[in-house]
Subunit: 258 residues, 2 copies
Amino acid sequence: MRLKLLLAYLGAGYSGWQIQEKPSPPPTIQGELEAALRVLAGTPVRVHGSGRTDAGVHAHGQVAHCDVPDDKAKQSWRRSLNALLPPAIRVLAAEPAPPDFHARKDALRKTYAYQFWQERNFVPPQLAPFVWNCGPLDVQAMRAALPYLLGEQDFAGLQNAGTDMESTTRHISTAALDILPPCEFYPPHAPLLRLTVTANGFLKQMVRNMAGLLAACGQGKIHPESIPALLAARDRRAVPSVTAPAGGLALVRVEYPQ
Amino acid sequence: MRLKLLLAYLGAGYSGWQIQEKPSPPPTIQGELEAALRVLAGTPVRVHGSGRTDAGVHAHGQVAHCDVPDDKAKQSWRRSLNALLPPAIRVLAAEPAPPDFHARKDALRKTYAYQFWQERNFVPPQLAPFVWNCGPLDVQAMRAALPYLLGEQDFAGLQNAGTDMESTTRHISTAALDILPPCEFYPPHAPLLRLTVTANGFLKQMVRNMAGLLAACGQGKIHPESIPALLAARDRRAVPSVTAPAGGLALVRVEYPQ
């Protein structure tokens, strides 16, 4: 029986989604899931995610699929998996799926969120694992940059080395920068900012490179109007901004047909 | 020069506020602060908190005082301390205080918050360190219990063993149970509940015992009307409810004259 899993996890402490097949492998999300599924299924189970998340990246709604033996199917997989998994990895839903459902190939759109903290000298400790502490930002300049990133474009300039993709063209359907309400309990501070971006797919570290580019706009280092020329070079080295740190990023949602 | 420190910290990973003077002491909040202050002051510095928090209890607004050498006074203590402290402990403010300011003796009121999560099988991983996962609760029954805890009363029945206090009478000025908005990103779930309680002082594990008592009311195990009789026994063993776990608790605020 094919299972569709909806997953939340904290990226800190894990070497990303993808299992590493080597002696003494570091902990990974996929590795933890496969270890728990093996116990419940009584046999090795391969888990296929909608995509890899980098080391340190969080997820609120990662999707994966796997096949479990039919004679083990009649159990609450959500409950059983949550009982075995570490608290940092939670199964929000585990439901039977059509036998041809594929978490990666069937995905229509993904949504990521990236959080920027503006006060260098103090991050509320509860928030620290989930933000980039990048100092004061000009929200208007960042918002002025967003339209240049929308639509179907070649995003090779926002792709880090390490993966050869057939095409580096992706379609970003929405990108918004929200000002979040102040953290309760804490003294007044510059607001937390959240970039939310939806596309039909993302290149390697593309959202983190977008976040770095937007922060550079917000710091006055890059003019929003120069973004088209920077992207036209199709070369990451031509874009003078950093790859934003992993902890600020979360995979929010993966959408499928229907 | 006397310094007044406003502090936030994550309790997980620390053996509470109070430093333990023994070989190979476990990490404590006070211990981390004193280690950082010793570096900056060039001499041992004793830190006095408004009170101890237990192992695993968090703080948004703990207050402490200490004395630093006058010739070292002209630095940004907030910035310097945050540079040395682990990310789980943050200095929100560090200001000169009158030489007779005392964080514990001068405190007028303290406010604590305790968070209850109602869905046994799933806690969002970001929230897990900050809630008690205690299952479904009847909010009306819990709210019906609150008035019985207000005012000046002998709370010996909500004090755990281990500390001899001269008096076990305290004055609870406010106690409220709030229904928090749903966690964004996650599927619909029973709401997170937060108890907020203010008093002129608290006995050992008094808030966690209050939280356990309220949860027992919310689970139908204790009738709110029976609380006066339970407290009248002045004996923790007469109160048939658990001490709620430390992780759900946070010290929110300490108030001083003016």
